[in-house]
C-alpha cells in the first residue's frame, strides 16, 4: 500500500526549523522555489534529494505520491481477478465494489473458507486415492 500518511510524523515547528536552517535563498524566485520543493520532498520522505544520484529527480514521479497503483482500488482488483470472484459470485467488478464494506468483507471471508474447504477436500481425495491405489499384481 502506498502511504497516505507520509510526512505525518513531522511537526510544524521542526519543519520550519529545518527550512530556516537549510534554506539559503537567492534573488532568483524560481531557484528559491525549487530549493523549497526539494527540501519538502526530502524532509517528507517523498524523494531524498540529498543522496539521490538521479539527474532527473526534480521531475520524476515519486512512489509516495502514487495514490492509485498500490492503493485500495488496486488491491480489490487484484483480489477480484486472482480469486476469480467474478465467476464465484456471479458479479462484475463494478458490482462487487459497489457494495458496503461489511458485505465485501463477508464475501471475501466466505470465499476464503470455501476455497480452503475445497482445497482440503481435494487433498483428502488425493490421499485416499493414493492409499487405495490397487497394488501391483504380483506375477511371481
Amino acid at each position: 500500500m502506498s502511504n497516505f500518511l507520509y510526512g505525518y510524523n513531522i511537526s510544524y515547528d521542526d519543519f520550519i526549523d529545518e527550512v530556516i536552517k537549510c534554506f539559503k535563498g537567492t534573488k532568483d524566485y524560481f531557484y528559491n522555489k525549487q530549493l523549497l520543493i526539494e527540501l519538502y520532498e526530502t524532509k517528507y520522505g517523498i524523494c531524498d534529494h540529498v543522496n539521490t544520484t538521479n539527474p532527473l529527480a526534480s521531475v520524476q514521479f515519486n512512489q509516495a505520491e502514487d495514490y492509485f497503483s498500490d492503493t485500495l482500488y488496486h488491491s480489490y482488483l487484484s483480489n477480484f481477478v486472482y480469486r476469480d470472484l467474478g465467476k464465484k459470485l456471479n458479479m462484475s467488478f463494478d458490482d462487487f465494489i459497489s457494495r458496503p464494506r461489511y458485505e465485501i468483507e463477508a464475501m471475501l471471508r466466505i470465499i476464503e473458507d470455501v476455497d480452503k474447504k475445497k482445497s482440503k477436500m481435494n487433498d483428502d481425495i488425493m490421499k485416499d486415492l493414493e492409499n487405495n491405489k490397487p497394488k501391483p499384481f504380483n506375477t511371481e
Binding site: 500500500m1 497516505f4 500518511l5 510526512g7 505525518y8 510524523n9 513531522i10 511537526s11 510544524y12 515547528d13 519543519f15 520550519i16 527550512v19 530556516i20 534554506f23 535563498g25 537567492t26 534573488k27 524566485y29 528559491n32 522555489k33 523549497l36 520543493i37 527540501l39 519538502y40 524532509k43 517528507y44 517523498i46 505520491e65 495514490y67 492509485f68 492503493t71 485500495l72 482500488y73 488491491s75 480489490y76 487484484s78 483480489n79 486472482y82 480469486r83 463494478d94 465494489i97 459497489s98 457494495r99 458496503p100 464494506r101 461489511y102 458485505e103 465485501i104 468483507e105 471475501l108 471471508r109 476464503e112
Partner: protein
C-alpha cells in the same frame, strides 16, 4: 485539535525503552518513556482528578468475547492518559523491547493504543465533572435511553415511494443498514446510509490527491494543518450519505451552517458505525501492574455503544426536542429553541492579564471551515512573502529567521480563531473576522498571552462539549484488577475519550487492507 497535532503528540508518545539496564542510562540519555513522561507532563493536567470522581453511567455492554481469529485487531487505550503516564514512570526500568520478552507484544499494543488518545487527554476532565452525568444516550421522558439506532419502518399500507421504499427493500433483503445518529450539541438527528466501497475508495483517493497537490503548492508548510481540508472533504462525503434529518426546513446541503463543531466527531463516528454494523476486533493490555500481569484482552467492539452524552447539561425542553428523531418532523423554530436553551454549550469570556477580553463561541462547522481555510491561505502567502520574494532577499538571515519564528508562533493561535467570537479592547469591540485574525497574529508574538489564550480556548472546548466518543475502563479478565486507580462499581465507570477522527481513518484504510493482503 488537528489530526496532525495528534500525530505529532503520538509520535513523541512511543513506548520504546532502550534495551539496557536503567543504571546504565545516563542523565543525558533519557529513555523514551521518560521522554513520553516529560512530554505528557507538559500537556493539560486537568485529567489528574480522575481517581476522585466518575460521572458516567454504563448501561450497555460495549464489547463481547472474541472467539474467532481476526483479520485486523485495533489496539485501544486501557486507562486514561494521565494514569497511563503515571504507569509509564513505574515501568521505566523494564525492558519492553527485548525480543524474547513477553512484554514486547504488550509494548506494541500500547504503542498503537496511544494513537487514539485525544491530544493532551482533552475531554478527560469532563468525566470527573460533578455537575455532569454521562449516559450512553439521551434519557427520554419515559426514562429510556435514545441513542444511535436502526430506524424502524412502520407497517403502513398503500404506496411506498422514493428513497424510503428503497431503504425498506434494502433492509428487508439485508442489503444495507441505515442508522439514526443523535447530534446532541445541535439538537439534530441524522439518518445515515452506509457508503459503498467504491465511494470510500473515491473519497480516499480524492484526499490523497489533495494532499499531494497542497503539499507541492505550499512546500509542505500547510500539510501539518491538513485536517481542515480533510474534515471539509469528509463532511461533504458524509452529506452524500445522509438520508434525512429530523428537521423539515433544514436540508442536508445546509447542514454545515447548523451543525455545531462539537458534533462533527460524533457525525464521523456515526458514519463509521454504518460501515461496521457488526463491530470490529480490538485489544487492550492490562496496565495495572505489568510485573504481575501483561495480559492482552481481545474482544469485539460494538462501535454504537461508545457515545456518552451529558444528560444534566440538557434541559427538559431540549430532551423533548431530541425525542423526535423521525425525518422531517421539526422546524427551524425548534432548532432555535434548542440552541437557545443550552446551559453549557454557550459562549463565555476570559480576560488576559493585560486586560484584553476574549469572547468565545461554539462555532458551526461552516465557521470552522471558513476560518480554517483562511488561515491556511494566510500561511501560503506569508511564507511566500518571507522566503521567496525578491524584496525580502536583502534582509539579513537573522531577520528572516525572526520573521519565520514569529510566523510559526502566529500560526499557533490562528488555529483556534473559529472559537473566538469577538475581542474587547477597553471601550472597543473587534468583531470583523479578518481583523480578529490579524489581532491574533499580533498577540501570538507574546509568549505569555499566546499560552494564556491557548489554555483558555482548550478549557472552553472541553467545558462546552456534552457528547463524547469514549471507551470505558475495564477490569482485566485475567488478573481481575481494575485498570484505573479509582474504585469502580458496576454502573459508574471512567471513560477514556477517543480521537474519533484518527479512529475513523484507521478503520477506513488499515482494516480492509489487511484482509486484502492476506491471499493475493
Amino acid at each position: 485539535m488537528t489530526i496532525n497535532e495528534h500525530n505529532e503528540e503520538n509520535v513523541n508518545a512511543n513506548l520504546d525503552i532502550p534495551n539496557e539496564d536503567s543504571d546504565k542510562v545516563t542523565k543525558n540519555e533519557k529513555t523514551s518513556s521518560e521522554e513520553v513522561q516529560q512530554h505528557l507532563d507538559t500537556t493539560d493536567s486537568t485529567e489528574n482528578q480522575t481517581d476522585k470522581f466518575t460521572n458516567a453511567i454504563q448501561t450497555d455492554e460495549f464489547s463481547s468475547d472474541s472467539s474467532k481469529p481476526t483479520d485486523y485487531t485495533i489496539s485501544l487505550p486501557s486507562i486514561n492518559l494521565a494514569d497511563f503516564t503515571d504507569k509509564l514512570k513505574q515501568f521505566n526500568k523494564l525492558d519492553l523491547e527485548d525480543k524474547e520478552s513477553s512484554l514486547k507484544e504488550w509494548s506494541e499494543v500500547n504503542k498503537e493504543a496511544t494513537n487514539f488518545y485525544t491530544v493532551g487527554g482533552l475531554y478527560q476532565d469532563r468525566f470527573t465533572d460533578e455537575t455532569s452525568k454521562f449516559y450512553q444516550g439521551i434519557k427520554n421522558q419515559a426514562g429510556e435511553l435514545n441513542t444511535i439506532s436502526t430506524p424502524k419502518f412502520r407497517k403502513t399500507e398503500g404506496e411506498l415511494k422514493g428513497e424510503a421504499a428503497i431503504l425498506k427493500v434494502s433492509k428487508m433483503l439485508g442489503l444495507g443498514d441505515v442508522i439514526n445518529v443523535p447530534l446532541p450539541h445541535s439538537g439534530i438527528w441524522v439518518t445515515l446510509k452506509p457508503p459503498t466501497e467504491k465511494d470510500l475508495i473515491d473519497f480516499y483517493n480524492s484526499i490523497f490527491r489533495e494532499k499531494i497537490m497542497l503539499g507541492r503548492a505550499t512546500f509542505g508548510l500547510t500539510l501539518t494543518n491538513f485536517s481542515v481540508h480533510i474534515n471539509n472533504r469528509l463532511f461533504d462525503f458524509i452529506i452524500k450519505h445522509i438520508h434525512s434529518l429530523n428537521y423539515n426546513d433544514i436540508n442536508k446541503e445546509e447542514l454545515k451552517n447548523y451543525l455545531l463543531i462539537h458534533d462533527f466527531p460524533i457525525l464521523a463516528w456515526g458514519f463509521a458505525c454504518t460501515m461496521y454494523p457488526n463491530g470490529f476486533e480490538y485489544q487492550r493490555s492490562c496496565v495495572n501492574d505489568i510485573e504481575k500481569c501483561s495480559y492482552i484482552a481481545k474482544a469485539k467492539l460494538n462501535l454504537t455503544k461508545l457515545l456518552w452524552i451529558d444528560n444534566l447539561s440538557l434541559t427538559d425542553a431540549q430532551r423533548l426536542i431530541l425525542e423526535e428523531f423521525r425525518p422531517n418532523k421539526l422546524t427551524i423554530e425548534n432548532y432555535r429553541k434548542f440552541i437557545n436553551e443550552h446551559t453549557r454549550v454557550i459562549g463565555s469570556s476570559f480576560t488576559t492579564k493585560n486586560g484584553i477580553k476574549f469572547k468565545l463561541r461554539v462555532p458551526t462547522f461552516s465557521e470552522y471551515i471558513t476560518d480554517g481555510l483562511a488561515w491556511i491561505n494566510g500561511v501560503n502567502s506569508n511564507i511566500e512573502n518571507i522566503i521567496l520574494r525578491e524584496s525580502e532577499q536583502d534582509k539579513e538571515d537573522d531577520e528572516k529567521i525572526e520573521m519565520l519564528n514569529q510566523y510559526v508562533k502566529t500560526s499557533i493561535l490562528r488555529q483556534f480563531n473559529h472559537f473566538i467570537d469577538y475581542i474587547e479592547l477597553e471601550d472597543n469591540v473587534i468583531t470583523d473576522r479578518d481583523t480578529i485574525n490579524k489581532v491574533l497574529e499580533v498577540f501570538s508574538s507574546d509568549d505569555d498571552i499566546r499560552t494564556e489564550i491557548t489554555e483558555n480556548v482548550l478549557k472552553f472546548k472541553s467545558k462546552t462539549t456534552i457528547g463524547i466518543i469514549g471507551i470505558p475502563e475495564y477490569n482485566c479478565p485475567k488478573c481481575g484488577k481494575p485498570q484505573n486507580t479509582s474504585p469502580v462499581n458496576e454502573k459508574f465507570v471512567s471513560v477514556i475519550p477517543l480521537d474519533t477522527m484518527n479512529l475513523f481513518f484507521t478503520l477506513l484504510t488499515l482494516r480492509i487492507s489487511r484482509i486484502l493482503e492476506r491471499e493475493v
